[in-house]
Point group: C2
Chain length 262, copies 2
Amino acid sequence: MDSSNPIGLFDSGVGGLTVMSEVVKALPNEHILYLGDTAHLPYGNKSPSAIIRFAIENANFLMRQKIKLLIISCHTACAHAIDILQTLLPIPVLGVRDPGFCDLLQATRTKRVAVLATASTIASGTFQTLLQAEKLHVYPIACPLFVPFVEEGLQNHAAAKLIAEYYLSSLKGTGIDVALLACTHYPLLSTVIQEVLGTEVRLIEPAHSTAQMAAQLLKERNLLNPSTSSPIYRFFASDDPEKFRRLAKIFFPFPIEKVELV
Amino acid sequence: MDSSNPIGLFDSGVGGLTVMSEVVKALPNEHILYLGDTAHLPYGNKSPSAIIRFAIENANFLMRQKIKLLIISCHTACAHAIDILQTLLPIPVLGVRDPGFCDLLQATRTKRVAVLATASTIASGTFQTLLQAEKLHVYPIACPLFVPFVEEGLQNHAAAKLIAEYYLSSLKGTGIDVALLACTHYPLLSTVIQEVLGTEVRLIEPAHSTAQMAAQLLKERNLLNPSTSSPIYRFFASDDPEKFRRLAKIFFPFPIEKVELV
């Protein structure tokens, strides 16, 4: 494996760019490819078999670009496909699931936690299984309207607050002290979610710890890029690259000059 | 062409079943195939080229089942692909666009009308072009959150009213007397939309007139099914047939026993 090869990330759309921006900070010498599978978004209300198919197609596309590490930057894709991709691919595969799980374990004192995610992630039971094995009491909440609100830029609209109250009111009185935002769109709603849950509940999102885990893995396997010349970032979308570029600004603090259609 | 062949309908999901239920009433002897392209839904925020590709794939699938008439039961697909499918296919192709346009023309007195639709339908400019050619003043409004609200069964939630006010407040004082619900999901929000627009604005949705136009076309071309034995209805979905069957109940008043995966 050539350590100068790029890291590959994919998500159904722009949400995973929050992970990429942390990877850029943690690994400033690495070339990075990002694929947004916008032709199939959102993943959150699709079936496991469809998500697995999309994930394999995305991984195959990135493998053809000779990536050295894959980071699945979408919780729904992780929930259904990380084990499959770890088995299929000849390169290391990380996802946002395990860092999220580790962060949650470390942060809780009451051992009562909430997981907020898409309908498909919640239905997969992946976080419930992991957390119950650690004797945590888990409150899984599917929040299907959160992604469309963020995609429409209406995360601060009064209706978003009403919807957050609708989804999260059952958490009152449960004694949770941590809530995992297990969808890369949800951090953009964190003000609203925090208002509804109260300041005693800590919100966690795993973009930062995913990037830390990626850095550690590359170091351990001697795969850090030895070059310190300017890294190359390339962005791909399976539909409407211009819309991707426009929406990307919400999630990614660096300029994106070009998005390529795949 | 065999007049005992079925009619084919497609939509991105279950919304087009409102059209199918009107076709069932208008043409009770006809066999009908319905395809929901749930692997790619929603269409409303995808690019024209993606929607054209999906529409051609859907039409090809239905053509292989030997349909005698295609009814595009999705406004977004109509907006981008009806002309292409009418050119490509050797059978008659109808869509919800033209009946909607005709209904609007007949209903308005003030010659000021609103068209409420997905972002992609509005961006296509299809209704604006048709209506401006008739000297109507058109107010096109994209309402991207309406479909997710309906899909989540939250069309009567207080947040839906707030979102309707957000999208439609610019119509106040414009003198419109008719609003076309140019998305098959929107009739489920008609109570909320009517509250916001006021009772002086008439809401129009073209499912009924699309079915009437289909009946007239089959009659004119001698394509009515001569048999009066029980017609066969078959339902197909490109993802998660069980979810399709569950959601279909909101849109279709008859029982659906089986949905086949394509």
